[in-house]
């Protein structure tokens, strides 16, 4: 596919030119400006994101577009309150020429200011320079420039967003990332499902499969080059690999029964999944190079939805070996399985946070569905959202935000279904719909783009 090739080219075409503070010799100081992300409810920090200055030959669309995307990203995080550009007094050209007039920015009560300039280099590349300023200490906090092919400007906006987020919250960002999901349409009994991929803000959405085969539960490889998922190709439900660059699909292994619920190991060398035979589902790991398979559980119950810890040493999974669907944690070799959920109801979909400290899950209790988090030792269970049907959490690359899907009956007699993607802050605040071209389910967040 053309757009896929373009994507790879874009990745290579992206160059980091300067690091913090290199531009204009300004010394970034460790300013007071800081958002505390550990508290539940934060007062979003006022930030002014100026339109970027267009230097001669620079692209006006990019100069306008980057601040808009940065604004949308930061606003969506719930941690920032971008100011209305109509209130800005100083124009981009004068900022470029002589720097910010801080008194004018203080006058509109912003604490931080983002400025930038877009130019075109002799070889036709786009150069984007941006700076983050602390309006009260009148100091530059970041100054960076990026050179890229003009088509790749959205990605620059996400990288800039991540830089700002990181500098002000002290945590790494998550904006330069993608989400793979299942695009859905049609009536419940004949739902058409397709693999789809988009940027984390919903832009650049495209389908990867044509909908002829039922597909479910896509997950990224750590390097983002592959997706593992379940396909009903030839009415044989099996785990597949999809290569994003080439579009090639490949069945994984030759199993006598259905394979499902796949996920990559953190090093990308293995895929862990379930295989069902004679009605019994167990967890297996396949080495992708040798293609050797190792059985990790051997219970008479359902063992499925396995997920490695970020250090690769443990595996969380769900099992009904104790009578009902609950979450267990075992060593990566399958030894020492320990049940970690003991609350009322059923627990499934364990997903380990990239930080390692929490496991997100889906819980079912008294006709309601919940998304929650729990520590790997089973302590500190916290439910963060509840609905008729919410399911399938996936972590943002920094472990701060969860994406999941929400289903509800619609239409006459509840005969249709709506399925939408949502994001929510780990604290349970700031739930937002993530718009997809059609209905969406089974989202999986990528790591930060390489």
């Amino acid at each position: 596919m053309k757009s896929e090739k373009l994507c790879a080219v874009q990745f290579f075409a992206l160059f980091l030119l300067f690091l913090c503070g290199v531009i204009a010799g300004a010394n970034p100081v460790r300013a007071e400006l800081k958002v505390d992300v550990t508290r539940g409810v934060v007062e979003p920090m006022p930030i002014a994101i100026s339109p970027f200055h267009v230097a001669p030959g620079g692209d006006t669309e990019i100069a306008a577009g980057i601040p808009q995307i940065v604004t949308a990203n930061l606003e969506r995080s719930g941690l920032f309150a971008p100011m209305n550009p109509a209130s800005f007094i100083q124009d981009p050209a004068s900022i470029d020429q002589s720097g910010p007039r801080f008194a004018e920015w203080r006058a509109i009560n912003t604490q931080a200011l983002v400025t930038g300039t877009v130019t075109r280099t002799a070889d036709g590349k786009t150069r984007v320079e941006f700076r983050l300023w602390d309006v009260f200490s009148q100091q530059q906090m970041i100054g960076m420039a990026y050179m890229t092919t003009p088509q790749n400007w959205r990605r620059i906006a996400h990288i800039i967003s991540d830089e700002i987020y990181k500098r002000i919250t002290g945590e790494s960002g998550y904006f330069d990332s993608r989400i793979v999901f299942i695009s859905e349409e049609g009536p419940p009994a004949a739902r058409i499902k397709r693999l789809a991929i988009m940027d984390q803000d919903g832009a650049n959405a495209r389908f990867l499969t044509d909908g002829r085969n039922l597909v479910l539960t896509p997950r990224f490889s750590p390097n983002e080059q592959q997706i593992t998922y379940l396909s009903y190709h030839n009415n044989r439900p099996r785990v597949y690999l999809y290569n994003i660059d080439t579009g090639r699909q490949e069945v994984l292994g030759d199993f006598p029964g259905m394979t499902f619920a796949p996920r990559f190991s953190p090093d990308g060398n293995r895929v862990i999944m379930s295989m069902a035979q004679n009605g019994n589902s167990d967890v297996y790991a396949m080495d992708l190079r040798s293609r050797q398979v190792r059985q990790l559980t051997n219970s008479v119950g359902i063992d499925t939805a396995p997920c490695y810890s970020p250090d690769g040493r443990q595996i969380a999974f769900e099992s009904d070996r104790g009578g009902t669907q609950q979450i267990y944690v075992m060593n990566a070799d399958g030894s020492n399985p320990q049940r970690i959920t003991f609350g009322e109801g059923r627990y499934g979909n364990p997903v380990w946070s990239p930080r390692g400290d929490l496991i997100a899950f889906t819980k079912m209790l008294k006709g309601q569905f919940y998304i929650g988090v729990i520590r790997p030792d089973g302590s500190g269970e916290r439910l963060i959202t509840k609905a008729y049907h919410v399911e399938g959490p996936s972590w943002s690359p920094n472990g701060r935000v969860l994406v999941y899907f929400k289903e509800r009956p619609t239409g006459a007699g509840g005969a249709q279904r709506s399925a939408k993607l949502y994001t929510i802050d780990l604290t349970g605040y700031n739930e937002r719909e993530l718009k997809t071209p059609k209905d969406g389910s089974d989202p999986a967040w990528s790591p930060l783009n390489p």
């Binding site: 009536p187 419940p188 009994a189 004949a190 739902r191 499902k193 039922l214 479910l216 539960t217 379940l230 009415n235 044989r236 439900p237 029964g257 259905m258 499902f260 619920a261 379930s274 069902a276 004679n278 009605g279 019994n280 589902s281 359902i302 499925t304 939805a305 769900e318 009904d320 009902t324 669907q325 059923r346 499934g348 979909n349 889906t362 079912m364 006709g367 049907h389 399911e391 399938g392 289903e407 009956p409 007699g413 509840g414 005969a415 249709q416 279904r417 089974d442």
Partner: protein, 183 residues
């Protein structure tokens, strides 16, 4: 709802029994049977589902080709139902499967696929596993009744292919099912 369904099935069986009596009364050779079924194949394809038998009863000129999916649906029953998060077979399910086993004995060249389905009130992966269990429960029952396991394939659809779209217990009860389909 399941009660209602049961009475529908009873009605269907009675209708079918009446039809086969009338057919055997007027057709003495297998060839004649073939003719009857050839005429009605299209109708049989178009309909399906548990209510088909009553339709046949209403119009005695119609029939179904022996050994086909329509035959299974009309004369035997193609599906069994399960409780919430259950995969054990109810007495009603066993009765249906006894009939399916007899039917499969009668048509030894017919192979079938057993689909396991779930309602939507569970998580995706778990339901895939549960659907597999339900399909396997049907298969092992049929094997115990003497059917060659090589004639029986299983597939789980989890909660992906509900039979009815409603979002209430009556609908979910119909979606928690094992369906036998002629290959």
């Amino acid at each position: 709802m399941p009660v209602q369904l049961k009475s529908f099935r009873l009605l269907a069986l009675m209708a079918v029994a009446a039809l086969s009596l009338s057919l055997s009364a007027c057709s003495s050779t297998p060839d004649d049977m073939g003719d009857v079924s050839a005429q009605s194949t299209m109708g049989a394809e178009d309909m399906g589902g548990p209510l088909y038998g009553t339709e046949v009863g209403a119009d005695s000129t119609m029939g179904v080709a022996p050994g086909t999916q329509a035959d299974l649906v009309a004369n035997v029953g193609d599906r069994v139902f399960y409780g919430y998060d259950r995969y054990d077979l109810t007495n009603e399910a066993r009765n249906t499967l006894d009939l399916q086993a007899q039917w499969l004995m009668k048509y030894p060249n017919v192979n079938v696929t057993i689909e396991g389905h779930c309602d939507e009130r569970g998580t995706r992966e778990y339901n895939l596993a549960l659907g597999e269990r339900r399909a396997a429960a049907v298969k092992s029952y049929l094997v115990a009744r003497g059917i060659d396991p090589n004639r029986l394939t299983t597939i789980s659809y989890g909660k992906e292919r509900p039979a009815v779209p409603g979002a209430d217990e009556a609908s979910w009860a119909q979606n928690r099912r094992g369906v036998t389909k002629v290959d």
